[in-house]
Each structure stands twice: as C-alpha cells, then as structure tokens.
Symmetry: C2
Subunit: 254 residues, 2 copies
Amino acid sequence: MPRKTGEQPKYKDIADDLRRRIDDGEFAERGKLPAERALLKEYADKVKSAVTIRQALGLLRDEGIVESRVGSGWYVLEWRPIVRNGLKRLSSEQWGEGKSIWDVDVDGRRMIPDGVEIETLPAEADVATALGVDAGALVCRRDRRYLVDEVPVLRSTAYIPEDLARGTRITQVDTGPGGTYKQLEEAGHKPVRFREDLRCRKALPAEAVDLDLAVGAPVVELVRYAYDMVDRVVEVNRMILDASRYLFRYEFGS
Amino acid sequence: MPRKTGEQPKYKDIADDLRRRIDDGEFAERGKLPAERALLKEYADKVKSAVTIRQALGLLRDEGIVESRVGSGWYVLEWRPIVRNGLKRLSSEQWGEGKSIWDVDVDGRRMIPDGVEIETLPAEADVATALGVDAGALVCRRDRRYLVDEVPVLRSTAYIPEDLARGTRITQVDTGPGGTYKQLEEAGHKPVRFREDLRCRKALPAEAVDLDLAVGAPVVELVRYAYDMVDRVVEVNRMILDASRYLFRYEFGS
DNA sequence: AAGTGGTCTAGACCACTGC
DNA sequence: CAGTGGTCTAGACCACTTA
C-alpha cells in the first residue's frame, strides 16, 4: 500500500525505531541486529513485506550506522576515525629526517602499504594539466594501496615529472628514508608549498571494489599538489580514501 | 530470478549501460532520462520488473550522477563545486577590513544568509568541552543557513563564550563589518590560530530536510576552532555542508 | 487529466556464512 | 545444512508535477 498524505513512509518508521534501539544500546552486546525475517515478524503489525524491512535497513546503511554481511547478518558499526593532520604530515621535519609521511596518519595503528606499482608513461590530459607539462610528456606514476588493521582505507596515485624522477629512487619500490620528497630535495626541487583539494562523493563501482566498500559509500578524493621554490609542480598525488574512516584536520595560524 | 554465479546482477548491468549513455551525452540536451516505465520497455529483453529498473537508477543516484524529481522524472546532474579556501577565508585581511568571511566562499555566485537565530543558553556537554568551559556555562549560539543560487548548501552553528559576546554585536543579528571575529578582536581576543576538523558522512534525516537533500546523500561536517593569543578557544563553529556542492582547498607553505 | 516517481505486497530462488 | 542477505517478479495504489 502506498503512503497516505501527511504520513511518513512505513520504512522510515521502521528505520526510526531501529535507530532509536541502536542508540539505546539494545544490540550493543553482540553488535548484531535480528535477521530480516525476524524483524518482519517483530514489526508484523506495521509492515507486511520483507522488501519494506530491507528498505529501512538500507536507509540505516546509507547513514553509515549499520552494515550487512551476506549469509551472516546486519551489524552495528562503530566510528573510530583515523586522524589525518594535513599540516603536520607535510612539514619537512616529518620527512626531512627520514620518517615516512604515512606514519603520522594513524594514532596507535599501523598503516601498511599493500603492493606498489611504479611505471613511467605518457601523461594523460588531466595529469599533464595538473603537473604543468605538455600532454603526452613522460611522467612517473607510483600507485599504492594502504591498509589499517588489515582493512584497505586509502589508494594513492602519485605523479612526478619524469625528468625529476629519472635516476633517483623515486622510480624504485623503496624510495628510502624520507620518501619521494627527500629524493626531490636532493634533486634540487625541495617541496616548499602545498595545496590540497578535498572533495567528498560516493564511491564509483571500481573504487568500491578496491577499498572493499559498498557501492555508494562516501569516499574522499584528495588531490595534493607539491610546489618547489620556483613554483613548479613537482608532484601531484591523487588519493581515494574511505571517508567513514577518516577525520581530516587542518591547523594554521594567522 | 536471483543472480547466477559469476554473473553481475541485472540492475548493475542496466546501471552500467545508463552510465555509459550519460557519459556519451545521449541525454545532454534535455538533461532528462526516459521515464521508468519507458526504460522498462527499452530493456525488456534484459529485465522484467520495474523494481529492478529503480534499483539501477538508485545506484546512479547514489553515485551522485542523476537525481529524481517526483512527478517529473530523472535528471542528469552537473557538478559545479563551490571552492572553499580554508586558509584565505581566515586571514585577518579578509575580515579585518570588514569583509564577511562568507564572501570568499563563492566564485561568482552569492552566498545568501537565510534566517539567523541567536540565543544565549547553557552549553551542552560537547560544546562545553570544545570551548573549554564548564558544562552548563552560558554560551552565545549563532545559528544560520546559507543559500547559493537559492539552494541551501550550508548550515552554520557558532558558539562563543558568553563573557566574550556580552555587550558586543555578536549577540545582534548584524555583527557589523568584519563579523564575529572583528568583534572578538575589539574585545581583546583576536583570533590568531585556527583548527578545522573535517569529516564526511551521510546526512541524517533532519539534516537532509534542512539542506534539501536525499537521505543518505553525503554531507561534510566541518568544525572550526578559533584560538586567541593565549590559546583560549574563542569560537567553535560547527557546519554541515552539502558535500556534492563543495570543494575544500587548503594551501600552506613549509 | 495524464504521466511521473515513491511506496508496498506476497511471494520466489540464489550464493554465501557458519555451525 | 540451516539460516542469512541479495536479487527478482508482476502486479498495485498514492501523491506529485506538468500541461
């Protein structure tokens, strides 16, 4: 039956009730909700069809407070963010002394690189524009995924103009202490200025697979530009992050 | 019929095809997709039920590339972000000379305040913690929504300790040129340091209504802390932004 | 008034998980 | 193997938009 005027749809009623029960901690112990068929019985006086129950659960999933596991059930989610400090991580104190800039991402938890792909190839149009080189000019691409607690949280794809990367460890899997930025410094192109463009949107299907997310889950697309002393772009890094796991922090004085 | 092993669900096939057609510009002219019932006929050899068509369209909506208008149809969305520069907007050059810090949000477009609510009230626990005052201490709350192109894009709720706001125009609807920060400066508490914590998640039902979003659409929750010379928190501003309309930019030198 | 998206029913079979 | 979520069908009525 469709909705009557002035009434809220049934599935929203169900979602409201489940949200309240979750907030009340009713499922806190096992972290697990009753099965769909069980909920259908619980709410039998309100709703007749399993589809409507699923609609309510889907709403809660959209809000990021529950997740489903096929063959297993529906589970309450906790939110425990990774704090990513956009300023500290880029201070040369971090990478100047040989620390990896990823170390500052996670407080307590380790961020583990999961496979690296390094390739030298002609720049696509958007990459060329971002780097300020001609389209088709050679660039070095470093592509890598990162895990926290064995869960993928971040895909990072960095582009460096080939003439800056050539002959350095930037083209190697292990860039050595201080990473790419230290290598750029030694090549006479120390990054001194940065820009980060941050955009939040829903995951595309390919990204959802890569980061093990539900389709439509929010991701953050973060593009960082690193400039050297003469304002040349020496690196562009495009990152896709699982938005639900991150808190982005920027601090600055006047 | 359920999915066979190794196959993609039908609704994803439909979504893939529609995504391709949108990218090809097939609907660019009117910006409008065929009606659900028309799509059901178009894809009659693949899919038999309207629910499955709706599932495919819902996927595209989750990805933020189409929207639905009841009684009207499905429309292709364009993405034209508001660039919000987190650094420029907070330089005292912006507000020191009497500009509103909102003016720098929109390039070309105007950001229009839509209703202001000002109230002095005891601080909730989380606000008290953020401001570094005792729970229950009086604070001034300035709550306001902003529109761009007549569309709500931002809800801003600022909290200022009552002893700093008392007797100033902070408690007035119009804070005068330079806004709250100019008033704080004149009270001897010039903000000199800032922190912004940015988190992306799906909209809660109340937020969705407030910003005229679909439930589950991504929003950005941005909390800004302003500190004076002696590191006292002089303002906390909690903002909820329509994520689909914003690009956040942070620039910093080393 | 005609067409549209939104909601709902009462079933069904599948692949996957966990015992 | 029993239970779970995921997908699918073939209908239906409602409120809303557009003309």
